[in-house]
């Protein structure tokens, strides 16, 4: 009987969850849904948490789903604010966008790797499988292991757009599903190379210069560092008062400080 009960309980739980997911339109005046990029999500969650602490009556609901889904949700009014980790496409320009921060994509290697700089062309060569050995870059004659993100990831989309252009990442690439696990692989494998959000870089790995520009908050902010992308909030038409209030908070000095502390590059 215990098993059956467990099943029934699980079934009910699934029903309830499904119910919870389908009720998108909880747009009471004091609740706000923010949906979109999974890259923006952790930062939006952090800042929403603090916003809710200041405004006790407000409930902010931060969801993932990807940039495209977020923009779509915003247009369909399923979310008051859509988030995106890429620029709007031409057909999306009917929406209003606010850049809330910039994120650099750091190319990382193991600290033992003596290479400090790669050009975009070299990066493209590595990830398309053309350069196979580190000896081609004047280091040991051992294979290069390059780590890609999973299909659908915003970071991967940005990397493909900025580095790969029309070429495809070779299917020999190792694949990991988060910035953290990519970093973990690079940190334990001297022959590996990968890319992660600049904010996630730590002492375990070494961030390379790209086209001789080192990734720093300054070089990312002024656009010198080539691999950066904007984090965007999107609203459809005139935002609701609460949505406007939240956007203002994110763009305020306090909000920007929170984002910078979390590893993004502010826009102020």
């Amino acid at each position: 009987m215990g098993w059956k009960q467990t099943y029934l309980f699980l079934f009910l739980l699934i029903c309830l969850t499904a119910q919870g997911c389908s009720s998108k339109n909880t747009s009471r005046s004091h609740s706000l849904t923010i949906a979109g990029s999974t890259s923006v999500q952790p930062f939006a969650e952090k800042i929403a948490e603090i916003f809710m602490e200041i405004n006790r009556k407000v409930v902010l609901n931060v969801q993932g789903g990807g940039s495209t889904a977020g923009i779509k949700a915003c247009r369909e009014k399923a979310a008051q604010i859509g988030t995106s980790s890429r620029e709007l496409r031409p057909e999306e320009h009917d929406l209003t966008k606010r850049i809330i921060a910039k994120d650099g994509i750091a190319v990382i290697v193991h600290p033992d790797n003596p290479i400090h700089n790669l050009t975009i062309e070299q990066l493209r060569g590595i990830f398309s499988g053309k350069f196979r050995s580190w000896s081609q870059f004047g280091w040991i004659n051992k294979p290069i292991f390059f780590v890609n993100r999973e299909e659908g990831s915003g970071t991967r989309e940005a990397f493909e757009h900025l580095v790969m252009k029309k070429e495809e990442v070779s299917d020999e690439a190792l694949v990991q599903d988060s910035n953290g696990s990519v970093r973990e692989i690079i940190a334990t494998n001297p022959q590996a190379i990968g890319y992660i959000s600049f904010g996630i870089v730590n002492h375990q790995v070494k961030a390379l210069s790209v086209d001789s520009i080192k990734p720093t908050p300054v070089s990312i902010k002024n656009g010198q560092y080539a691999l950066s992308r904007p984090f965007i909030f999107v609203v459809s038409g005139k935002p609701e008062p609460l949505a406007q209030q939240f956007i203002n908070f994110v763009l305020s000095k306090e909000g920007q400080q929170i984002l910078e502390k979390e590893g993004l590059v502010g826009i102020l």
């Binding site: 059956k4 079934f11 599903d177």
Partner: protein
């Protein structure tokens, strides 16, 4: 009266469990089928190009990887599990058995993420250093899975060995066979269907395992050509990509689920048939 109500409730609960299985089946097929039709069953099963956001839905490399990892686990795990089972059922004093059997079964209780973690920390660097390649590999996944299926195969095999009538063994011993000869020539053949069932259930467990495999297999989409090549199984693909997937991409993941479902169902049905034969 009271008795009747309880009976009804129990029946209802029992059917809700079966109903749940049915619902899941229908749901997976309903969600996954459109993309198989769209891509064409041939391109879906026999193309190795997987880029669902760019309309390529070939899962051949994942099928090959899933099978390779599973067979690797069986090749490494079965001798170990059989040795365990024979020792525990035949050579082990009763007192040690009551201690050892639960210990092996305890292996099944360790969460798979822990196996994966151990694999990444211990196994992967060893493979990288001594065998080459990135370390995250078919071999690493097979070894981890071999350990994970050990308890399943061992405990079912023990039961199968112990279910062989004592008379068989006594007969063999009386004919002058040694203990090992009796095991090899009489006990094992008599317990064969049970042992094979154990192996098949072990396979079903291996092919369905996700977390540990994601962590140690490297998840590369290329069809593996050597043991140290990274691989991406069906389960890994679903777990890795479902977070971001939308539209056809999501449907394609469900379609991969259908293939996995068919694999596991066939294995289970096979195991059931064999058990009935016994």
């Amino acid at each position: 009266m009271n008795e009747k109500i309880i009976e009804k409730i129990l029946t209802l609960l029992a059917f809700s469990a079966i109903g749940l299985l049915l619902l899941i089946t229908i749901f997976i097929f309903k969600e996954g089928f459109p993309v198989i039709v769209k891509a064409g069953i041939k391109d879906f099963l026999f193309s190795a190009k997987w880029a669902p956001t760019k309309n390529h839905f070939g899962i051949l490399s994942m099928i090959i990887s899933s099978l390779a990892v599973t067979f690797g686990a069986i090749i490494l795990g079965v001798p170990l599990a059989l040795a365990c089972a024979i020792t525990l059922a035949e050579f082990c004093p009763r007192r040690l058995l009551v201690f050892l059997k639960p210990t092996i079964e305890l292996l099944a209780g360790i969460p798979s993420v822990v196996y994966g973690f151990l694999g990444v920390i211990l196994l992967v660097p060893l493979i990288r250093e001594y065998l080459g390649g990135p370390g995250l590999s078919l071999l690493a996944a097979s070894i981890i899975l071999a350990i994970m299926i050990l308890p399943t195969i061992t405990s079912i095999s023990i039961d199968a060995l112990q279910a062989v009538p004592l008379l068989f063994k006594e007969g063999a011993l009386a004919m002058g066979a040694t203990h090992w000869q009796a095991i090899r020539l009489v006990l094992l053949p008599a317990a064969r269907s049970g042992v094979v069932t154990a192996i098949i259930l072990g396979m079903a467990r291996a092919i369905g395992e996700t977390m540990a495999v994601i962590m140690v297999a490297g998840n590369s989409l290329k069809i593996p050509v050597s043991l140290v090549d990274p691989v991406r199984t069906l389960t890994s693909t679903i777990a890795l990509e479902m977070g971001y997937s939308a539209g056809d991409h999501r449907t394609a993941l469900f379609a991969a689920g259908i293939v996995l479902f068919i694999f596991i169902m066939s294995l289970n049905i096979l195991a059931n048939l064999l058990m009935r034969k016994k």
